[in-house]
C-alpha cells in the first residue's frame, strides 16, 4: 500500500495480490516476510506459462491499466493532549539542549562517576573535566606528521591540564613507577596543555585522578 507523503491519502496500487474481494479493494502482500523459495520457481516452460495465465486472470484489466487511482481515505483529526504528550516527548529528545550537569555531591555513583571535589589551588596543577563531565584521558595510535616514519605505537593522552604541567608529569611518573617499576616515556606539550605517555596507561592515570579528586 502506498501513501502520499504530503496529504496522507492512500494510493491504490492494483498490481498486488488481492486478499479482500470488496468493492474498494485494499491490496496486501501475501506474506510480510521477504523470503525466496527456489521450490516455488517454475522450472519448465509449461509451468511458467500456467503461472502467468493464472496471474493474468487474477489481476484482470488492472494489469494494463496505467492510471493510478488516488482514493481519499477518511480520517479523524485529534488534538488530544494525552496523546500529544508522547509526541512532545520525542520532539524534546531531539531539540538542542545543553549537556546535562550532574549533581554536586560527594557520593561516588555506581558507575564510578563523581562530581570533581578538587579545587584549583589544591595542587600546583588542575585537570579539568571534558564537556561530557568525564576524564580527559584518551588512548590512541601515535600519529606522526612525517608519514615516512613507519613506527606504530599506542599512546595515552591527558588533556586540559592547567597550571604546572611538569609537576603533574613528575607525580604521574612517580605513581606509574610505583605500580610498574619502570619509567614511561612522556611528551610534555605545555602550550597544548597535554601529556602524552607511551603505552596504554589509561586505567592508572584515571586512578591517579580519582585519588586527587579531579
Amino acid at each position: 500500500m502506498n501513501v502520499c507523503y504530503k496529504s496522507g491519502r492512500v494510493l491504490l496500487s492494483q498490481w498486488r495480490h488481492t486478499v479482500l474481494a470488496l468493492p474498494s479493494v485494499r491490496t496486501v502482500r501475501h506474506s510480510e516476510n521477504f523470503t525466496f523459495d527456489w521450490d516455488k520457481v517454475p522450472d519448465t516452460y509449461e509451468k511458467e506459462r500456467k503461472q502467468f495465465e493464472e496471474f493474468c486472470e487474477e489481476v484482470g484489466e488492472a494489469r494494463i491499466n496505467n492510471n493510478l487511482k488516488i482514493e481519499n481515505v477518511e480520517y479523524t483529526a485529534s488534538q488530544n493532549a494525552e496523546e500529544w504528550k508522547h509526541v512532545q516527548h520525542l520532539v524534546d529528545l531531539a531539540s538542542p539542549t545543553f549537556i546535562p550537569v550532574p549533581e554536586k555531591s560527594d557520593e561516588v555513583k555506581p558507575s564510578g562517576f563523581y562530581y570533581p571535589s578538587a579545587k584549583p589551588g589544591d595542587y600546583p596543577y588542575y585537570v579539568r573535566r571534558a564537556p561530557s563531565w568525564l576524564f580527559p584521558v584518551y588512548v590512541g595510535d601515535y600519529a606522526k606528521q612525517n608519514k615516512k616514519d613507519k613506527r606504530k605505537f599506542v599512546v595515552t593522552t591527558i588533556r586540559r591540564v592547567d597550571g604546572d604541567i611538569f609537576a603533574l608529569r613528575k607525580d604521574l611518573d612517580a605513581f606509574l613507577f610505583e605500580r610498574y617499576e619502570r619509567e614511561f616515556i612522556c611528551k610534555v606539550m605545555e602550550i597544548a596543555q597535554k601529556l602524552i605517555y607511551r603505552g596504554n596507561v589509561e586505567k592508572d592515570i584515571k586512578d591517579f585522578l580519582r585519588l586527587k579528586g579531579f
Binding site: R26, T76, A77, V87, F113
Partner: protein, 289 residues
Amino acid sequence: RMSGVREKALQYLREVPRLTHGNIRNLPGTRTPKKRGYGQNGKERGWGASARQKLHFGPLGYESGSTPIQRKTAFERSYNYGIHSVRQFPPLSLYQLQLAIDTNRLDVTKPIDMAALCGTGVFFLDPSKNQFGFNLSSDGMDLFKAKVHLEVQWADEQAIAAVERNGGKITTSYYDIHSVIAASDAFKFLKSGQPIPRRLTPPGNLLEYYINPANRGYLADPVMVEKEKEVLAQKYGYSISDKLDDRLLSFKKDPRQIFYGLEPGWIVSVQDKTIYKPKEADVKQIYTT
C-alpha cells in the same frame, strides 16, 4: 600600527614560556623543496627508448604497468562474504547504561527503548549499516544498580539477571529496518509526515529467539516469563521483589507498536500539533493485525 600577523607573532613571543624547535620556523624561501628528477617518471617510465636500452625486462607476469592477473586474483576465499547483508546488533554495555543514568542523560522514571537511547545523543544506530538495534551486553553487570524499564533488541542471560536483580524489567523485541529508521531518529521521522508503520514480525531465523521466555522475548508467554524470572533468580542467587511497581506496569507496547502511546497508521503533524487517524475499518485492520 603594525599589521595583524606581526602583532600576533610578537604577542605570541611575549606569552610563550620558552622557544623550542617546535615554536620556530625558517624564514620563507630559505628551505627549498627537493625537486624530483625524470627517470621513472619520464616518457618511457624507465623501460628505455632504443632497442639497446630495452634489454631490461620486468618481473615475471609484468603487464606493462597494469595490475597483473596473478596479483588481481586472490588465492584465498572471501572471509567476509555477505557481511553487508548480515544483521548487526551493536553492543550496549550495562556500564555505559549506568554511566548515562549517573550523568543524567537517561531518565529512569520513563521507559527506556530504542527511541530514548538514540535520543540521548550518546548511543548511535545506523540502519544503513544493517544495525537492527542494541545488544545489551553484561560488561559492568556487577556495578549495575539502576532500576529501569528497558526494551532492547538482544540481551544475554547475565545482563537480564543484572537488570532484574535491581527490580527492573527487561524485554527483547524485534524492530525491522523501517521501524529502526523511524525509532533511531524519531523527530526526523515525525517531520517526514509518513504514517507510523507497524512493526513486522521477526523473520524465521529470529522468531525462535523472541518467542523464548528465557530471553524475555516480547512474543513469549508472560506466565512463562515470570517462571523464567524465578529460575534466573535462583541461578544467580538474588530475590525478586514481591511488590509490583505500578509505574512499570503502565508502560506497555503492542508487538506492532514502535513508539509508546502512538499507534501504527497515525500521521503526526508536528507543526499543527494534531494526529490524523484513519477511520475505515479495513485500513485500521492492516495496521493493527
